[in-house]
């Protein structure tokens, strides 16, 4: 590892990845270090993949670029492993921490690094942080990060949460403590190499003026969802309510007039399930 420790967070809008990167910086400062943290400034919407960065050093940080060769990558939700190139540039002697229910040995990642897992969703829900469909996992994940790597002291993290988290401080501190104890680390193993999908479609040669002419349907938003609608067609009355209320135009119909979810676009909002009169749409967790 170089003199500066570089940590990259991957999460979704609404999960608290940016706040996690900030809390870690505050904790490092309480430990007497010189931290830096910043988000990738995009146009994050709830559910959309987001990235945030933290650097920690004994001396003031002299660089302001994004982190391309991190020592540690923290993934706040495991489905991002499939859709985002989260391990890009991760150092061979680095660490990958993932929030997942699955064992660390089963993580399908393309690089042979140390890896750690924690079921931060369960911890967050247990402490009433966020909702069961949208748990706010950042403090539990930070606890796990401290447990797996010791980048900051648990005491400093606890203090940072107490000082800088605006609400439910006690619950967040407890979640961090639980994450610290629950994290499970395994050493490097042989890599699995899945294809990493490209984020956005084609690039064009630019016209002189800013005129956009390609369809947004080139962009797949399936990575935004954590829940997926499953229609029990045998009980469907073909009333079209699901189609009518979908804000993402994610429905089409089969030749018999039954609704079909266009999985590339569904963001898993759950509106169709709530609005289906006979309640035959079920929201199931993404594998």
């Amino acid at each position: 590892m170089g003199a500066t420790l570089e940590i990259r967070f991957h999460g979704r809008g609404g999960q608290g990845a940016v706040v996690a990167s900030e809390l870690l910086a505050q904790a490092a400062f309480l430990d007497g270090k010189m931290p830096q943290s910043f988000p990738f400034f995009g146009v994050e919407r709830r559910g959309a993949p987001v990235t945030a960065y933290t650097r920690i050093d004994d001396h003031p940080i002299g660089i302001r670029t994004s982190i391309t060769t991190p020592d540690i990558v923290v993934v706040l939700e495991s489905s991002l492993l499939r859709t985002q190139p989260v391990t890009d540039g991760l150092r061979e002697d680095g660490l990958l921490l993932v929030n997942t229910r699955n064992p660390a040995e089963e993580l399908m990642i393309p690089v042979p690094v140390r890896r750690a897992v924690v079921d931060a969703n369960q911890i967050a829900v247990a402490h009433g942080l966020g909702s069961p469909t949208m748990p706010i996992v950042n403090t539990a994940v930070l606890g796990a990060l401290v447990g797996a790597s010791g980048v900051v002291s648990l005491k400093a993290l606890d203090q940072a949460i107490d000082e800088f988290v605006p609400a439910r401080r006690a619950e967040n501190r407890a979640a961090a403590e639980d994450g610290y104890h629950a994290v499970h680390v395994v050493e490097a193993n042989t890599p699995f190499t899945p294809p990493v999908p490209q984020a956005v479609g084609p690039t064009l040669s630019l016209p002189e003026g800013p005129v956009a002419t390609l369809s947004s349907e080139l962009i797949h938003t399936s990575a935004w969802r954590t829940l997926r609608p499953v229609i029990h067609l045998e009980k469907c009355t073909r009333c079209n309510f699901c189609w009518k209320f979908c804000p993402d135009d994610a429905f089409t119909f089969d030749e018999k007039g039954y609704p079909v979810v266009r999985a590339e676009y569904c963001k898993g909002c759950g509106i169709c399930a709530v609005e289906c009169p006979p309640r035959v749409i079920e929201m199931v967790e993404e594998a």
Binding site: G42, V43, L206, P207, E208, G209, P210, V211, A212, T213, S215
Partner: protein, 394 residues
């Protein structure tokens, strides 16, 4: 071709009319008002078959022009001073959208205190918006330049908005003879707008859009490149115009008796006329003096300025506004243009005529005298009592 006595403001109106503008939108401000009143008459009488959108602010006037331009219409607006400042955000939009809007600006001082006189502070604060900027010396030049500005702005290789500025009262309300070209002649000079790459009803496309840093840089660079093509395109346009009308205003920079001059004043707008007379007088007395009139300020004619420096050892730049904390805007630009060239003449900056104060023959004389006497202070406010050490010097 008919000769008529008219104000600079009417020269703007008639030029817009001859250009067959399709959408006009404006909000009144002294001393621009007679431009839009005249256009309102021309539209009301049916002489000009255009849509005149009477808006509740200059900001909306510019938005109307930008949006109308996006659908392919040829548009015109005019403003001054505070009105131009209020438009500021939209000026960036026009350029970024590559909307070839043409605007008449009557250069007027900026409040406070309220004041109505000629002053370039309004347009100088818009230098960085991506607009082509012309400054005119006479009502004839106003009319000719508006027509040329449309050709230039709508050139497929350029597609940038352009403003044609005239000094408050010294042109806006001054009557003088102007040759008005026949409509058929203007039509052969300025064809209907080529509306490629604008929004087409029924076609899915988004004009404006948003980007990350990557494509944003590319789009900015395209604007910069279009600006770089302006001087060459303007020279060709003036050639065409000259062959139809016989008139030539000098391209980006008009030189006056500058070829062998020991000292040259760089001027803009109406002060140039007075300066010409003084140059003639001083030449008659044996002083080798001359002028370089900046007709184009954006893009800045750096090549021409370097060429001037090759022939002249003393350059005085005359600014009708002041950039607080720096110097006159034109002087700063001239200095920047000269830095990379091989010739570094003595450079002085004269601040004069602010807020409508007159630029008299005495001023011009004094500036030449100071230049010829040697290197004075870099920035000299001409109208104010000189500090004692400068009195001794001058």
């Amino acid at each position: 071709m008919t000769l008529k006595v008219m104000s600079g403001n009417y020269a703007q109106s008639y030029a817009a009319c001859l250009a067959r503008v399709q959408v006009i939108s404006a909000y009144p401000i002294t001393p621009q008002t007679s431009i839009v009143e005249k256009l309102a008459d021309l539209v009301a009488s049916g002489e000009l078959p255009a849509q005149f959108v009477k808006v509740e602010s200059e900001h909306s006037a510019m938005q109307v022009c930008v949006s109308a331009s996006a659908l392919g219409a040829r548009t015109y607006t005019a403003t001054s001073s505070q009105g131009l400042l209020l438009m500021h955000e939209l000026l960036h939009w026009a350029a970024g959208m590559r909307a070839p809007v043409v605007m008449g600006v009557v250069n007027r001082s900026v409040a406070p205190p309220w004041s109505l006189g000629a002053d370039h502070a309004d347009t100088m604060s818009q230098r960085d918006t991506g607009w082509i900027q012309f400054y005119a010396e006479s009502n004839q030049e106003v009319l000719d330049t508006v027509l040329q500005a449309y050709r230039l702005a709508e050139d497929p290789a350029i597609r940038l908005p352009a403003m044609v500025s005239e000094d408050a009262f010294y042109l806006s309300h001054t009557l003088e003879p102007v040759e008005v070209p026949d409509q058929s002649l203007v039509d052969s000079f300025l064809p209907a707008r080529d509306a490629r790459a604008v929004l087409v009803p029924g076609v899915a496309a988004r004009l404006g859009s948003f980007t990350g840093p990557q494509q944003y840089v590319e789009f900015r660079r395209e604007v910069a490149k279009a600006m770089e093509r302006v001087p060459e395109a303007l020279r060709q346009i003036e050639k065409d115009y000259q062959s139809l009308t016989g008139r030539f205003h000098g391209g980006p920079v008009e030189y006056y008796r500058a070829g062998d001059a020991e000292a040259v004043l760089v001027t803009m707008g109406t002060m140039t006329t007075t300066a010409r007379t003084v140059v003639d007088e001083m030449r008659a007395e044996g002083h080798r003096v001359g002028l370089a009139k900046l007709r184009l300020f954006r893009p800045f004619p750096a090549t021409e300025i370097r060429e001037l420096a090759r022939r002249t050892d003393r350059i005085g730049v005359v600014d009708r506004s002041f950039t607080f904390g720096a110097a006159g805007a034109a002087a700063t630009e001239v200095a920047a243009a000269l830095y990379s060239g091989p010739h570094h003449p003595v450079l002085s900056n004269f601040i004069v005529g602010i807020g409508g104060r007159e630029v008299t023959p005495n001023h011009i004389h004094a500036m030449f005298d100071r230049l010829l006497a040697g290197k004075g202070p870099e920035v000299q406010w001409m109208d104010l009592p000189l500090p004692p050490e400068e009195v001794a010097h001058g």
